[in-house]
Every structure is written in C-alpha cells, then in structure tokens.
Amino acid sequence: MTTIHVIKRDGTAVPYDGYEIARSIETAARGLDDSMARAVQIQSELEITLFDRMTTEQLDEAVIQVALQNVKEDPAFDTIAARLAVKGLYKRVFGATDDLFGDGSPDTIVALHRSRFDSYIHAGVSAGLLDARLAGTFRLDELAAALDPRRDDLLHYIGVATMRTRYLLTTAPNAAGARHPIEVPQFFWMRVAMGLSLNEADPSTAAIDFYHRMSRLEYLAAGSTLVNAGTAHPQLSNCFVMQTEDDIEHIAKSVRDVMWLTKGTGGIGLSMTKLRSEGSPIHSNNTASTGPIPFMHTIDSTLRAISRGGKKFGALCFYMENWHLDFAQFLDLRQNSGDPYRRTRTANTAVWISDEFMKRVRDDSPWYLFDPLDTPDLVELYGSAFSARYAEYVALAEAGKMPRYTMVRAREQFRSILVSLQTTSHPWLTWKDTINTRALNDNTGTIHLSNLCTEICLPQDRDNVAVCNLASINLSRHLQGAGADAVIDWERLRDSTRAAVRQLDNLIDVTLSSVPESQTSNTANRAIGLGVMGFTDIVERCGHAYDSEPAYDLIDEVMEFISYHAIDASADLARDRGAYPNFAGSGWSKGLVPIDTLDALARDRDVAVEVPRTMRLDWDVLRAKVTGGVRNATLLAIAPTASIGLVAGTTPGLDPRFAQLFSRATSAGKFLEVNPNLVADLKKLGLWDEVKEDLLAAQGDVSCIDAIPGHLRDVYRTSFQLSPYAFINVAARAQKWIDQAISRNIYLADRSVQGMAALYLKAWEMGVKTTYYLHMMPRHTAEQSTVRVNKAEKIRPGNAESTTSRPARHGFGFSGATLRSAPASVTPVVVRPLLESSVSVGVEVGVADGAACPTDPQELLQCESCQ
C-alpha cells in the first residue's frame, strides 16, 4: 500500500503513525481484560480502512467505528469506543493537544475540568448560549471543585453519542454547517443542575447536590430539561396536552400552538374528538364540514416544518374517542397507502376508550358512532355517567331521532383497531375511565386525553394547556450485590426520590412556556411525573425472570416505596413553599393516595380490578399528611426513557430486553447492544466465547442455544419470547401506586388478532391505564452478512438424530470437477411435492418445526426423512 498521509487540524500533512494510534487505543483499553490483544485487533482492523489524506478527525472517528464493530465479541469494545468518544469531546472543548488523541492522564483531565469551568460559564453567557444568571448566582469555584470526570466512565458509547447529538450545548454552525460542543459531559451535568437551582435560597449547595446525583446517573431529568436547563432558553417542560375546540378560530390557534410548543422542544398530545364529523352542517355559511381528518394532516405537516429545539422534528400524538363518527378514517391515518392528504406520516395516534366500549366488546353488543355536534357532552363525561348518557343517545338513535349516526358490532371495531395496531403500531390503546376515575386531580375538570407517550393524565381546557415535567430514577444505580445477595439500597432510593421531586418542583419556577395557556396550567397545578428506568436490568441482576412472581413483587415493592417518598417529599415541600394553587377539592385534600382509587374504579365500572392490594408501608400517616397540602397536583408517571435510558446505560422504563443482542436505531445512529449482564453471567461459566457466534446467528435469542444453562435461558428471555401477559402484569403492579400512567410498550410474536383482543381486554381488567407502542416480531429479516449463512445447510432440530449421515449435496455440488473431495456416489435429491400439506415453513429464521418435512428445497436437502 502507498504511504498514507494524515491531514492535521492546521492543514499540514504527516505520515500515518501506527505507533501513536496504538498508544492511544491502549490507553482507552486500560483496566480491561486482554487490553493489549484488543488494542492490536482494533489497530489491524483500522488499517484496512485507511486512505490517503484523511483528516485527524476522520481517523479518530474511524478508530471508534472499528472498536464498535467488535461489540458483538465483547462489551469491553464498547468501553473502549466510549472512552475514545469522550476523549474526542475533551479535545474539542479543551483544545487540541500535541498528539492525535490528547493527553490521557486522569490528573490532567481533572485539572482541565476545574480550571476551564469558570471560562466555560462566562464564555457561554457572553455568547448568549447560557442563562446570564449562571455567572452571577453561583460560587463557581465551589462548583468546579465538585466536578468529577471519572464519572464519564459510567457512560456507554451510545450514551456518549446520544449526549453529543441531543444534549450537549453546541456553537452556532460554522461555514460547513457543523456545530461543535462547548461542554464536556461533567460541565453538561453541572449546567443542568445549575439551571434547576436558580430559585433555591442557596443555589450553589442545591446545584452540587443535583449534580452529584445526575452525574452518578442515579436519576436523570427528561430530554427537554437536559437540552435547555441553564441555557438562555429555559423551556424545560416535557409534555403538553391540549384539545382542539370545534370552531375554526381554535383550530387555527391549535396549529399555532403546536408550532410554538414544537419549537420549544416539547412533545404534544392533542385531542380532536370535539371536532364535528365530515358532512356535518356548518351554519355560518350553510356548508358542510370536512371533519377532523384534513386538519390532522395540516398539523402533521407543521411537525416536519418546525424542528424540535433545533435538534429533531416535532412529535405529537392525536387522540380521538372511538364513538366519533369519523373514527374509521382516524384508524387509517397511519396507513402507508391511500390519499396522502388524509394521512399523518409523522404524528402518532391513540384511541381514548371508555369502559362502556370494553363491556360492549366483552358482551358482543353493538356500538354506536355519533357526530360530536349532536352529542357535545360526551367528551366531558366518564365512567358510569358516560355510560348513562351514551345509552340515552343510543335510545334516541334507535328511535330515529338522531340526525347522523352509524352502528357497528363493538367487536368488529375492536378488531379493526387491533389490526391497525398490528400493521401500523397505531392507534395506541388508552382507557379514559380508568384514568379519570382514579385521578386525584379530579377537581379541575375531565381528563380528555393522555400525551405523546401515554404516561400523562392531566385535565386541560381552552384556557389551560396541561404541562408535565418529568424525571426518572435509574433503578440499576440503586441495587447492590448480585444474584441471591442482591439488595435495593433503600436509603439511597429515598434520597434520590426526594431530590428528584425537589428538582422537578424547582423546574416549574424556572421554566418559560412558549404558550400562555401552558404557563397558566403549570403555575396552577405544578404537575410532575417521577418515573423509573432500569427495571429489567435489576431483575436480571437479582437472577429473576421478567415474567416471574419475584419480578412482579419487586416492581410492586419498588413503586410503592418511590410513590410513598415522592408524595411525602411533595407534602414537605408544601409546608415549606405552599400547596399548589388548585389543591383545594383535590383527592389529596380528602386524604386519598393513589392506591385508594383502585376500589373506586372497580365500583364505578362494576368490573373487578384484578391486582393484589398488599401494602408494605404506613400509608395512614401519609393520608393524614396530604390533607395539609401537597406541592404538586401529580407526582408519578413512568416515561419511556428511550433516550435518557441510553445515557443512563440501562434498560428503558419497564421495558424488557428487546433481544440479548440487537441494534438500536436512534437519531444518533444505529448501535449494536449486547446485554452486559448476560455476558458477565456467561463469562463466569466460561461459556461466552463458545456461544457468542450462535447468539448473533439467533438474533439475540438465547432460548435456542443449548449450551446455555436452563436457568439463564429463563432469566434472559427477550421481548418476543416472554408471554405478553408479563408486560401487563408488571404494568398493573406498578400502576397501583402511580397517580398518572405508564408508557407500556408491548412486544408480540403471535400475530393472531384474537390473541391480541384477549391481551388488551386483560390489560383493561387489570387496571392498566394506557398502552404504548406495539412491537411485532418480524417474520422475515434480511439475510445476515456477518454470520456464516448457507441457506441449504440449515439443520432442522427435528433431524438431530441423523447427524451421522453424510452431508447433503445439492445444486452443482455433485459435479466432481468442482469439489475437492468428491463423493463416491451421486444421488440427486428429489423434491417431494407436499400437495396435501399447507404447513408454512420457509423464510423464518430459527423456526423450530421438527414435525413437518420442509418444502423449501434449500432445507429439504437436509431432511433425511425426505431423502
């Protein structure tokens, strides 16, 4: 190969220096097993990708990419890539050093952090990027002394990449359009902590406390807060909930508000139920309405036009009740074909379902759809009151006194919803009566919808755009020990909970809303939603299977504890700072806590809520305490944590492992993820090297790898092997304690719509308030590239007993001229027609179907019983 030159930042060309690269990789691999061998491997794989006159930045990135492509071999490569990426941030923020990778000495790094912090704050303020108060409000030297860059080692590569693309504050774009970070990870954590301490009596002490907790990844604020806290644009709230009124002025205002809220980086829930249906009369000009669908398309387009916080496109979920006359068209919004003006490519959809509908599905009764113009009070009603009024409208319809309505079988509509859910993952199913009947904030109106991620339960009206402010506790940072010795560090969990509630409450006083109606609502209700992430992570480390009673008990106990201390902290804050303005008349003011509303729900709907009622803590003390005031209208909600979970390096929310090895596609790129808990357990047994290739071939499913012991195969069952009822059980046990809701992802391997119907009915019966995305297991995936594939060689499990037979030959294989070891006799394989058989075999990967002979000639060649 010709000499490779590298172009340095100053434009000079130097010959590629393998020694320097090697030293840099070794530094990044320090402390890991086999660090030398890994460094050599990375270097040799790097060198086949080089080309002449590549820049030092390209070289840095190439090293990281090469390290990453080996993560399937060992998670240690992820650590190397993460360290190299962090080092890249150091270089970018602290300036170029004398070699390609900078000085890696930990002491130098600490010193740089401490000495540069002050200038980072002042330069950021001067540039108009940081909140001017950051420079004057804090004892910056004290804050600088608290910075601990060793915590950067907690980050996985995907965490660094997510931080880099989503959260780190950047310069304005240069001539080439590139934005460069102006903060390293520890500056970032401190900036967020400072931004959430501005209203404190002693801001520096508070900021240092929040900093330590977030930088240790014990809890994280939600996305919008991480992006904007401490900056010149402190729009810190995460979720906005609004409803479009049935008049053209308000439709136009909704479009406007969506644009403003999107610009400020919030996710939006938007109910369209009130809009009169297509063909409904408009009296002002004697014409007919086009219904809600075209307006949803209009709003959908604006989401693409306004980028969220300048970093990603807008996100919104439309809600509609399923008695709306245009509901069938609503179901089609996410279809990939049809009139594009009646589709929403970007916006999500969710259906707001009543108990009345679920009972009619159960009883196989008819279901009536109305024009909201004729039934304007239905949106305001819930539970038994809704049922009663609905029955009156049904009677009117049957008596021929309702101008416009249609009737379908409730089961037929339910089936349509589920078919749409399976093929487009929309609409998400949410249950309005479970939400409203259990609400403790029921003194400020009906809850008309949930939010973008289905975990928020807040009322809104024309004058109030409901707002929620989120943070999530990282459970994996609150578990000590492993296996039978694993214990939750309850004291730390309590402290994290209390600090997170205080931080969220501060947020409300600091945040600026882009829409006046949201400012009003935020101030009057001070709603927050504290959740968790890392549930599966701790279940695995305790040695439980996700779908086991111990796992269900664990989430029950953990959520009871967090709920208890969050409420207690909010009640303490109320004593200090005052109750939220709308407190009087709330469920809290009557001494109710979330668990108390379960029985009210069962009574109102007359269907038992099938969930155990065990209580471990002294709730009576808290019941008495909350009557004296709480600081926040709501306290708990489990968000998806799809992005902050990556920074925290744990499993998002309550999600199971998608697979033990899989790729994750985000706005920061596509990343391979291998479960470090599984790798650690297999390494302990000396099995990892033996099975890692099989794990990739099986696409991260351990259930079919015989070399892995049975109990590990139980613990490490993945999303599509678990019974889907496990997701319902975990959610139901957590939901008991949560005043808002849970972004409950569902994973399904079975495509039977009847099976889905039973599952979602069960979720409703168990008191699950909302469900979120449905992930279907793909039946067919593309041919694998890095696994040895010969479709003709696939041994089917049913034929295991005949492994001693000669290998099958096929295609041109009989031709002696082309084989190094020609067989003695030539027996062409005959394809046996299976006329009588309708079994479906073929393209699925790893389907165990030993009973039937394969019909695919590439597989048939291996089936001894056919030959």
């Binding site: 080439a176 996710g267 985000t666 039977s752 719509v753 995305y773 995936t781 041919e783 590239s785 079994v839």
Partner: protein, 330 residues
C-alpha cells in the same frame, strides 16, 4: 404421481394455483406481500443536510451507487420478464415473480425519489451506466444473457435451453442481485454507521429485505431446476457457472475502484472488494461449489447494520420492520 416440472412453455398450464406444487414459492409470495412498502414513507429532509456535509468523494460514491442501482433494478425486471417468467410453469412461481417485478419497479422508484430529492446532477447520473466503462461492462455482461431469449429462440425442452435458463438466473439473481447489489448495500449502509443519510438507509433496509427474498427464490429455483433435470449440470457446465461468478468478481473490483478512487471514512476500494469476495464465496457455496477466496468479512459492523433485530426510537427514525396484512386467524 407424476414428476412435477417447474419448467415448461405451455400457457395452458399454470392457470390454477391449487394444488400447490412448490409451497416454498407460495410462502415467499405471502411474505413478499407482507413486506410491501412505499418510498414516500421515508422523509429525506434530514438526509439533505447530511448530503451537503459529505466530502466530495462521499458524494461521488452515493451518486455512483444511485447511477448503478437505478437502471439495474429495471434490468432485473427485463431478465425476469424475458428470461424467467415465460419458462416457468408453476402458478405459485408466477405469483411470486409478479410481486418481485413490482418490487423491482418500486426499488427503481425509490432511487428516483432519492435522485429527485438530493442535489445530484441527474443528467450525469442517468448517463453513467453508459459512460462509465466499469458500469457499462457489468451491464453488458447481464444483457448478453437476456439476448439469448429476446433475439434468439430458446427451446426450454432441450438441455441447452435449460442451461440458458440457468445461466440467465445465475447472472441476474446470484451475480447481479446476490453479489453486486449486496456490495452496494454495504457501502450505502456504511453512512448510517456514521450517523449520516439515516433515512436513505431506511430505504436500503427495505430494499435489502426484499432482495433477501429475491435471492431465496432465485436459488430455490436454480436448485429445483437442477434437481428435476439432472442432465443439465454437467462438469463442463458447472465449471462455466463457476467461472461466471469469478468473472463477475473481477468486474465488480473495477467498478469499486471507480466508486472509491481514494477512500472515505471507514471504506476504501480494497475493503469493499474483500467484501465482494466474501459474498462471492457465500453464493458459490449456496450453489454447491467450494468457496474460491477464503477471505473474512471485513465489514463486521454489518452485524449492527443488517443482521440483528432493530429496536427503533420511532420519534427519531423510521421503523422498517412492520408488515402489512394482519390476519384475524391462522
């Protein structure tokens, strides 16, 4: 029971689907229908910003790929229409081929969609398959096999006719789709590993998913023809087929040197060509040959890009795993 014959000429045959003789073909048809997608499901706005930031050689590579893929998707359709469909008897195979032909059209439209969205010199891009010698050579190699059917008479009842059928299948299915396209897919997907052109990569994900089925069908068809007609695969013919694959690798090497005259981050022509040889070995083995090159896969990152189930943050990326046609029972 009469021996089934997948090859034939009679138009009277193949008008009834049932009974199904080749269930694998029907399975592939059903899966192909479930895989239906449309280019407009992907929005390219973010990719436009990426495209502006690419280096000159990166932009050249993307343009080169598009210039090759766009006409060649349609070339595959010609090979199917003139060289496969008329000589296959089974209705289930006709169903699959009809869906595959729509998919090739859809792929062409997907590349058109990108060509029309990106600031690419379209005139030059459309001309490349003629003006760039390494591209023209690949095209001429393919076209010569279709000519056997279009400009001459092929009697499928003769051994030589059947061999022409197999030659054409190997040329377009194993070589063009199974080696040449796959090497291009790897290059296209490499941009996403650097967080560039993510939405373009989503289109490629879908195309690869389709192509995996095409390849499955084509190789099954070849194996079935050889099994039903043992006289076809003489030593001499086997050697000829093997040589075709080796020649194809050489043509691809020249093409890739034009694709990346110097290199881009993570890739150079030698690297891609090692991947081509790795693919060629795989296809040789699937046809029953011994591998020729014995090289390793340099693109280990394809495990992330292609080999694993993907979990999508659906606010940030398009989910390419969905399937249409949910059924209420099965």
């Amino acid at each position: 029971m009469t021996n089934p014959r997948i090859l034939g000429t009679g138009i009277a045959e193949g008008l009834l689907l049932k009974p199904v003789t080749y269930p694998w073909a029907l399975d592939l048809y059903n899966q192909a229908v479930a895989n239906t997608w449309f280019p407009h499901e992907v929005q390219l706005g973010e990719d436009l910003a990426d495209f502006a930031r690419l280096t000159d050689e990166e932009r050249h590579a993307v343009t080169h790929l598009m210039s090759y893929f766009n006409p060649n998707e349609l070339l595959v359709n010609k090979a199917l229409a003139f060289g496969v469909y008329p000589y296959v008897n089974a209705a289930e195979c006709h169903l699959y081929l009809a869906k595959q032909m729509w998919e090739e059209a859809n792929h062409c439209m997907a590349f058109e969609y990108v060509l029309e969205t990106f600031p690419i010199d379209r005139k030059a891009a459309y001309a490349s398959h003629i003006t760039v010698p390494s591209m023209a050579a690949k095209e001429e190699f393919e076209v010569k096999f279709i000519r056997r059917m279009t400009e001459q008479t092929l009697d499928i009842n003769t051994v030589e006719g059947k061999r022409d059928f197999v030659r054409n299948l190997v040329a377009y299915n194993v070589i063009l789709e199974g080696i040449w396209f796959y090497s291009g897919f790897m290059v296209a997907l490499s941009f996403r590993q650097r967080n560039l052109l993510r939405n373009f990569a989503s289109l490629i994900d879908w195309i690869v998913r389709d192509e995996s089925l095409h390849l499955n069908f084509g190789i099954n068809l070849i194996l079935t023809v050889l099994e039903e007609n043992p006289e076809v695969a003489s030593d001499e013919f086997a050697e000829e087929i093997r040589s075709m694959v080796l020649d194809a690798v050489e043509m691809e090497e020249a093409y890739n040197r034009d694709l990346l005259p110097n290199g881009i981050l993570g890739l150079n022509a030698d690297y891609i060509n090692q991947y081509v040889k790795y693919l060629a070995d795989r296809r040789l083995e699937e046809l029953g040959f011994e591998p020729e090159y014995g090289v390793t896969n340099p693109a280990k990152w394809m495990a992330t890009a292609n080999d694993t189930l993907q979990l999508v943050n659906f606010f940030e990326s398009i989910n390419t795993s969905y399937e249409v046609d949910a059924r209420s029972s099965h």
